[in-house]
């Protein structure tokens, strides 16, 4: 078995990761544009979280993905699969060129995560499934004493699924201090604002009431995300990271607009979005220089 050091992510500075986030946003838009399908808004809102996970936090690598001691990540909000595929491709789990087959006839790159793709732990896409699965994985890791941590990413709209709260109760009951649930708290779902569809606020108090240690962070702040996701819980309890994010982050006309939940940009919109992201990239490079 490989040592945990072999699975450690590469060392990147915050600025380098911020730059990578923009690159990953561009790749996500390209994958969705070329496929003519996808979940644009939620993908852009969770890119920074995935970037920090795979490039700073998770002890998992393409070479050691089969190691029992690896950290596990299950994407419960499976509809943001384009962002996950992009991050995995960038991390070397499979060739970037594979993304061109996204949602194509007979492609393994389905519109929700499947284990046919190297780096995907479980098939997800129906909401409310990731957290119960991760409770099972965290229990297995504790039974085996391997020190592995288990992470899942949920949408805030997804929290209306009752199975999440069944799992939330079980996780604290079983003292799963190796489990981290991340909420992509972009406050929008397909029909509009989550608070108008079926309010789930106050989220932090709900998770605390279920026995979790709660950390509320800016979901686009690389440093804050890194700290929240890296530090283990202070007691024998699971951790909930509420990442306040912006749906469609990085593209002015997509930000905070519910219709971009699964909107696909026109050629003009696509070009405009890429130009905006390129400009942001230039600004970061100038600061870094």
């Amino acid at each position: 078995m490989a040592s945990q050091n072999d699975m450690s992510p590469p060392a990147w500075s915050d600025s380098q990761l911020a730059l990578k986030s923009i690159h990953l946003r561009k790749m996500t838009l390209e994958a969705i544009f070329e496929a003519g399908a996808g979940h644009t808004g939620g993908g852009l809102s969770c890119i920074d979280i995935l970037n920090v996970l795979y490039n700073r936090v998770l002890k998992v690598s393409p070479e050691n993905f089969d190691s029992p001691g690896r950290d596990h990540y299950v994407q419960s909000k499976g509809h943001s699969v384009e962002a996950l595929y992009v991050v995995l491709a960038d991390r070397g789990f499979f060739p970037v060129a594979d993304l061109k087959s996204l949602c194509h006839y007979q492609s393994h790159y389905v519109g929700h995560p499947t284990r046919k793709i190297h780096g995907i732990e479980m098939n997800t896409g129906a909401l409310g499934h990731g957290l119960p699965i991760c409770v099972g994985m965290a229990l297995a890791a504790q039974m085996d004493g391997l020190g592995a941590r288990v992470f899942t990413l949920l949408g805030d709209g997804e929290l209306a699924e009752g199975s999440n709260w069944e799992a939330a109760m079980a996780a604290s009951h079983h003292k799963l201090d190796n489990l981290v649930a991340i909420i992509d708290h972009n406050t929008l779902q397909i029909s509009g604002h989550t608070r108008d569809v079926c309010s789930n606020e106050p989220l932090d108090e709900k998770w605390r009431a279920f026995g979790w240690e709660v950390r509320v962070v800016d979901g686009h702040d690389i440093g804050a995300l890194s700290t929240a996701l890296t530090q283990r819980s202070t007691g024998p309890v699971p951790v909930c990271v509420i990442a306040n994010t912006i749906k469609g982050k990085g593209v002015s006309f997509m930000e905070n607009v519910a219709q971009w939940h699964h909107g696909v940009p026109s050629p003009e919109e696509y070009q405009k979005a890429q130009n905006e992201l390129s400009a942001a990239e230039t600004r970061i490079r100038e600061v870094m220089a």
């Binding site: 499934h129 119960p132 994985m137 039974m143 199975s163 069944e166 079980a170």
Partner: protein, 332 residues
């Protein structure tokens, strides 16, 4: 509380049990618990997940002797199946145990996606299945589970007829690399098989030979077919009994052989007549060009009558008398 349950077998059926020399065993779900505990003592990778169901699942002794190998999640069947899947994905041989009525309805999406679509080798164990809960009513019956699960392409569905089949099914599930559903009832079973019988998933077990009519049955109905075959022998009719314990994949070879060699077939199951063993047999026969006289006996398409499991079986003809009458009608 409910009225005292009448005996499952009529006086005539009890006489036939004696004639056939059938001995009484445990309830299949109790045999499951005892046998799984013996396996789990040797294999710490075996993990049982329960949803406040250790009592009905007879898993109290397992919980006491192997507490680290039992995970309690409370009354939360969706969570139970998700956790069972997560454990299996991390290399555990996980058995998620809950009443079949809740497990295969409320958590159907978790069985479909978390276990089957992800193709993890988890075992879903439906206890107190069929109409085991009798007069507790339709909320507590599972007459849909075969129908729902048969449409999922990679799960093996097994409803054992006795304790021998139960042990075989549990052992096979423990070794399986794909998903399994095991369906157990809570009534004490009679031992049906000869000592040299062999259990293999997907292979029907011949219980009695004959060529006038074949009973193709699963689970707790097999014994009633055997008793009917014994009774019909006294009328000069030789009836075959096949225990089709695996509803998916179906043993089509044994079914087709029965269709070629017998004048008629009756399928029998503790399930809705829709979507279960009977319709699986009918589809296979039709598509193979075999057209024996054929009837499906199960719970008909109506609001299920109130009563104990014995009452319900008798009401719908899942009894020695009911099956014998139908056979005599079919064979003229």
């Amino acid at each position: 509380m409910s009225a005292p349950a009448p005996a499952m077998f009529s006086p005539a059926a009890r006489e036939m049990i004696q004639q056939l020399g059938l001995t009484r065993g445990r309830a299949n779900q109790e045999e499951f618990a005892v046998f799984l505990e013996s396996l789990a003592r040797e294999n710490s990778n075996i993990i049982v997940v329960t949803s406040d169901s250790r009592g009905s699942g007879k898993l109290g002794p397992f919980a006491k002797s192997l507490p680290r190998q039992l995970v309690e999640v409370g009354i939360a069947e969706q969570n139970l199946v998700g956790i069972t899947a997560g454990l299996a994905a991390c290399g555990k041989k996980s058995f998620g145990v809950s009443p079949a009525c809740f497990l295969t309805a409320r958590s159907l999406e978790q069985i479909k996606n978390d276990i089957c679509y992800s193709n993890v080798p988890a075992v879903v164990v439906g206890i107190s299945a069929g109409v085991s809960y009798g007069a507790l009513g339709t909320t507590h019956h599972s007459l849909h589970d075969f129908a729902a699960l048969r449409a999922i392409h990679n799960i093996t569905l097994v409803a054992p007829a006795d304790n021998f089949e139960t042990r075989g099914a549990v052992l096979a599930a423990a070794k399986a690399v794909t998903p399994t559903y095991l369906r157990f009832g809570k009534a004490a079973m009679l031992d049906l098989h000869a000592p040299n019988a062999c259990f293999e998933p997907g292979r029907a077990i011949p219980v009695r030979s004959g060529s006038d009519l074949a009973f193709i049955a699963s689970g707790e109905t097999v014994v009633h077919c055997l008793l009917a075959a014994g009774f019909l022998e006294t009328k000069g009719l030789h009836c075959r009994v096949l225990s089709m314990h695996t509803v998916r994949p179906l043993d089509e070879a044994a079914l087709h052989q029965a269709a070629r060699e017998c004048r008629a077939i009756i399928s029998v199951e503790e399930h809705s007549i829709h979507g279960g063993l009977g319709e699986a047999c009918a589809a296979s026969l039709m598509q193979s060009g075999l057209h024996p006289a054929f009837r499906i006996v199960g719970i008909p398409d109506e609001d299920t009558v109130t009563g104990s499991q014995a009452d319900i079986f008798r009401h719908y003809g899942l009894s020695m008398e009911g099956l014998s009458d139908l056979t005599l009608k079919m064979l003229g």
